[in-house]
Amino acid sequence: LERSTNSFSYSSYHTLDEIYSWIDNFVAEHSNLVSKIHIGKSFENRSILVLKFSTGGPNRPAIWIDTGIHSREWITHATGIWISQKIVNAYGKDHVLKRILNTMDIFIEIVTNPDGFAFTHSMNRLWRKNKSSQPGIFCIGVDLNRNWKAGFGGNGSNKNPCSETYRGPAPESEPEVAAIVDFITGHGNFKAMISIHSYSQMVMYPYGHSLEPVPNHEELFNLAKDAVKALNKVHGIQYIFGSISTTLYSASGISVDWAYDSGIKYAFSFELRDTGQYGFLLPASQIVPTAEETWMALQTIMKHTLNHPY
């Protein structure tokens, strides 16, 4: 394993061990800005880690970004790593980012589903769920983006444990979800949550479990539009945007619906490249361009969050 982030390839996919090793080196090299927080253990007892980017100050308003909740969406982990590196490189040079970090903290969970991700490397590249099992049930795994307490069990989730969208036996039954819920709730001052998926090229906002528009629908619509515009300027890639239920499909028990209902007004879900040539098997040559354009969209949302305190 690498002993420095200098020799880490940001244009390549990596295993869980390589990513966790990179996290340790990254934190050591940028200890003035970045720290590592252990927020829990996965079903198979792996550490669940979050990177905290902070310039100091207690319990500042915060922004949450998670990647890799679905383990086969490798482009999202890679994008999370690139963005983390981008934050430390750009801080001090980028005026907007500096303003954001002087007021707010950014938290990034790069491997939200570590068991599933390890499994995609060791056994089944196309594994989506986590690896939890229940006595007497043959099929393994819960869809971690159907397990949240927000319309749990409704349309777009499945009660069949063999389904790829199995919601789990109860809301927050999965340790990977419970760890985030406990952390965000315990913190109490998150203002934005962005959950990153692939693929389809979309920027979306709540709700997924209902067609009902959220109270600040217009604001989220305009912000998503601005984010997509900023993203498009980088490499000309077209994204579509709108609420999850009207843009993609009905999905219940999802993280951003939970965030919104928990008072996090700026809740977004991204679907990264592509639109179907490679799907989950996006070539590594597209990691950096994807991350570059995603970063611009994220910055747009972070800047809006900074300028619209609540």
Partner: protein, 93 residues
């Protein structure tokens, strides 16, 4: 590692709700038969599904018999997986 030789990803364009419902039935009938990469949502959005090699004849016959137009998005998943693995190994070297 699970071997995906011969598995394909099919892209289906459903014309209406009835056809979407027929696609949803595929998962209900036998979840292991198809793995939706993009699930049946609305007629304007394509449906992408991975079909194991052994199930390809029956799934394609099902689609044809219900008038569901499809194209092959990925002809052989294992080819892409091998390329991905080679790229990782090369990067490590």
């Amino acid at each position: 590692q699970v071997n995906f030789t011969g598995d394909q990803v099919l892209r289906v364009l459903a014309k209406n709700e009835k056809q979407l419902s027929l696609l949803r039935d595929l998962e209900t009938q036998k979840p292991q038969k198809v793995d939706f990469w993009r699930g049946p949502a609305r007629p304007s959005l394509p449906v992408d599904m991975r079909v194991p090699f052994s199930e390809l004849p029956s799934v394609k016959a099902y689609l044809k018999s219900h008038g569901l137009a499809y194209s092959i998005m990925i002809k052989d998943i294992q080819v892409l997986l091998d390329e991905e693995r080679d790229a990782m190994a090369k990067s490590r070297r």
